[in-house]
Amino acid sequence: MSVADQAAAAGLHRVGARPALWPYLRQTWDRRDFAVAMARFRIEAGYSSNRLGALWMVLRPTLNALIYGSIFGIMQGSNMPSDYPAFIVIGVFLFEFFSQSMTNGATSITRNRALVQSLAFPRMALPTAVVIQQFLSLVPMLGVMVVALVILGDYPTWSWLLMIPLVAVFSLFNFGVALVSARLTVHLRDLTQLLPFISRLLFYTSGVLFDVDRILARWPWLVTAYDFHPIYQVLSLARAVLMGSREVDPMFWVYLTGWSVLTLVLGVLFFWAAEERYGRD
């Protein structure tokens, strides 16, 4: 009788073995309060030493939008869309949710090495906490966005409520991305150096700052390719929902939902598969 058989006969399990997918997801769900508390308290702790405190949650993206808006507005000259200020506010604010989820998700395991090495809980709680934290940061930004849009002449309509499903789908997408980047960083620590560049590259190529249809009009195939760019889809949908001057192909909703579900499923499977590896380096 091998030792493993004896252990099984005595009702013992191998310590540290990865649970099957469903039990794993259930365990993660059981830790939802932990993930939410980590997210909330990290926001609180992050701003506690600043004089303006949590106001920076909205000041930083606002300043970002102002700077990018004025510089790229001037640079685009006659190519600048007439509704540019609202265009840029929506682009910069929503992109922030994605990029922060990706870059902070990437370090969610490696940054919490001590925690991972001292307490047993499903590690998925850590990237989950990051995305919740970014979601909680997005909420006041959406408030500022509404104020900015009203000032810029776009008044609330019932269709603005479509932002709720849009942000929900976008959150699923960001969660999937955070899960993938969290595991990749565990294998390849150098990714933390690379991710800011990837994030910036996506910032300039997702239609945050410029109108894809106008700037890339000379390359129609490229404009068509953008229809399948998930972040561009989010931004286009948000602009169409919030700005009277914009329209979007309703199929974008379908594409984006497909992207998000696919990314989330892949992210969950990819992250779960390496559960035994986290913190063991």
Binding site: A4, L12, H13, R14, V15, G16, R31, F41, G46, R280
Partner: protein, 256 residues
């Protein structure tokens, strides 16, 4: 059998842990010239860039039963902590395996806490990290604060606490959780003399309630006081395993 004759350490209660031929190898990136070695080709893409293997455990096997409290002794760097981390599943064996009836837990919660937060918020965060529900924490909160003796400063940020106060808070949160298999790594003595006595009493209480306890310590006194069985780890192998008196005596003799 007369009940009074049953010794404190009944060596064969229910089997709760099997450690089977456990090997742990650390791969470390060693910096500096010596690490690369003469003639070793090192490059960005070479996998062996300054990597050295450290054999922390080399084939440790033992079994632990319910109601045992097992001391783990050995000099610094002998592999005690590695063995405990492998027991909790936080370090992967390179060979062999650890089987347990439930996941062994380290006594400790410090890594989950955030210094900028108040003591009260940290109790909530630490409790959730230990797997309590919000409701359970609400019930335990006052006991934790009282045990830590932090009634006056519980609303201040934890970073403003003295290191002794922080240690008390961490211990009080961690000790609020009851474990079936508990590992205490030299945590017996935190804080001032008064709190040390209190925490030692708390650990004895946990030991009584926990099924099985492992105590890693350099203090032969606490090992003698607490443990009915002791394992001596030396350079990654199990040097001796038996009743505390004889193992500690052999260990102390080897030190002379």
């Amino acid at each position: 059998m007369d009940e009074t004759e049953v010794p404190d350490a009944v060596p064969h209660g229910r089997l709760v842990v099997i450690v089977d031929n456990l090997h742990v190898t650390y791969r470390v990136f060693a910096g500096g010239r010596a690490a690369t070695g003469a003639g070793a080709r090192s490059g960005l893409l070479s996998k062996a860039r300054g990597v050295r293997s450290v054999l922390a455990l080399r084939g440790v096997s033992f079994r632990a039963y319910e109601n045992e409290s097992i001391g783990v002794i050995g000099s610094n760097g002998s592999g005690k902590s590695t063995l405990m981390r492998a027991l909790t599943g936080l370090t992967a064996p390179s060979q062999g395996a650890v089987y347990a009836s439930s996941r062994p837990n380290l006594l400790g919660v410090g890594a989950a806490l955030i210094p900028e937060l108040s003591g009260g918020h940290n109790i909530l965060l630490g409790g959730l990290a230990l797997g309590f529900s919000k409701k359970e924490i609400a019930e335990l909160r006052d006991d934790i604060i009282e045990f830590a003796g932090l009634e006056k400063s519980i609303d201040f940020p934890m970073r403003t606490y003295s290191s002794g106060m922080q240690a008390k808070l961490k211990f009080s949160i961690a000790a609020s959780k009851q474990h079936e298999i508990l590992i205490v790594d030299e945590a017996l003595a935190v804080g001032d003399k008064h709190f040390r006595a209190k925490s030692e009493a708390r650990i004895r209480e946990m030991r009584a309630n926990a099924g099985t306890i492992f105590l890693v310590s350099h203090s032969m006194k606490s090992i003698r006081d607490t443990c009915n069985r002791t394992i001596w780890i030396n350079e990654g192998v199990l040097e001796m395993d038996g009743d505390t008196e004889s193992v500690v005596a052999a260990y102390e003799a080897s030190k002379k």
